[in-house]
Symmetry: C2
Subunit: 146 residues, 2 copies
């Protein structure tokens, strides 16, 4: 059964999209954004739903490898390029490599912060590329101050 | 009285944010995104609300200068850089210059399509720059095909 959208947080804006995770593993996430609650005035996926899907798919793998008592995630920037309108649900996935995970852990240990850029292809139900997201995620120590 | 968020369309995703226009004129829009329905798990404005505000503020001035029976707007890409968390409502505005309006009308006449890049500073209630949006809007003829 798909898990609720938020990775341990509770953000009403995200919950309203009814986004669901199809898979969450250490360093990996796959999610689906349903069309029905997120359709625009011409019955294709609205812009904002892509940004939510891209951010969640980008951030969740990072969140999965940190101790939330020690560190927290922020989004530094997000960009979405639109290629093709989607008249269906849209899915996306992102995986941090073992090398990236090791580098993140080393950076958190050494300086209390780490970051990564996630590139997120977003596909319609036929596998067409509807949009591409690029999201910079930062992971910070709770007592980090710049 | 502020107008409803959508510029003639009806997008439930946008309506759910309770965004409102503070001003709409020919080639100009100013809008406010309320914090309450769009707060994240630490009670600051959630990422997705900035993308909605940036897109609406960018697109509305373009929509105001076209005949919807002839042309329609699309978002080609959107990027938002986050500078400072906002624990308040967030406002944004964008104006097309008379030169840009003339150029858009000339392009629509000549080739059935036009476009512009809108840079959108988004300010918290104290006037601090919370985020910057960059949105590419395209205006297309209904019988445009690439």
């Amino acid at each position: 059964m798909p898990e609720p959208a938020d990775p341990g947080f509770s953000v009403p804006f995200v919950n309203r999209t009814e986004m669901r995770y199809l898979a969450k593993e250490r360093g990996y996430a796959r999610a689906v954004m349903p069309l029905a609650p997120n359709a625009n005035h011409v019955d294709v996926m609205y812009m904002g739903a892509y940004t939510v899907l891209a951010e969640a798919t980008a951030a969740t793998p990072g969140i999965s490898i940190i101790d939330p008592k020690e560190h927290f995630p922020i989004v530094k920037d997000i960009a979405v390029d639109f290629h093709r309108m989607a008249a269906s649900d849209v899915t996306a996935e992102f995986r941090l490599s073992e090398e990236q995970i090791a580098e993140i852990h080393a950076d958190l240990e050494r300086k209390g912060s780490a970051g990564y850029l996630a590139e997120i292809p977003m596909l319609d139900a036929n596998g067409n590329l509807a949009a591409t997201g690029k999201v910079t995620i930062k992971l910070l120590s709770h007592n980090w101050n710049g």
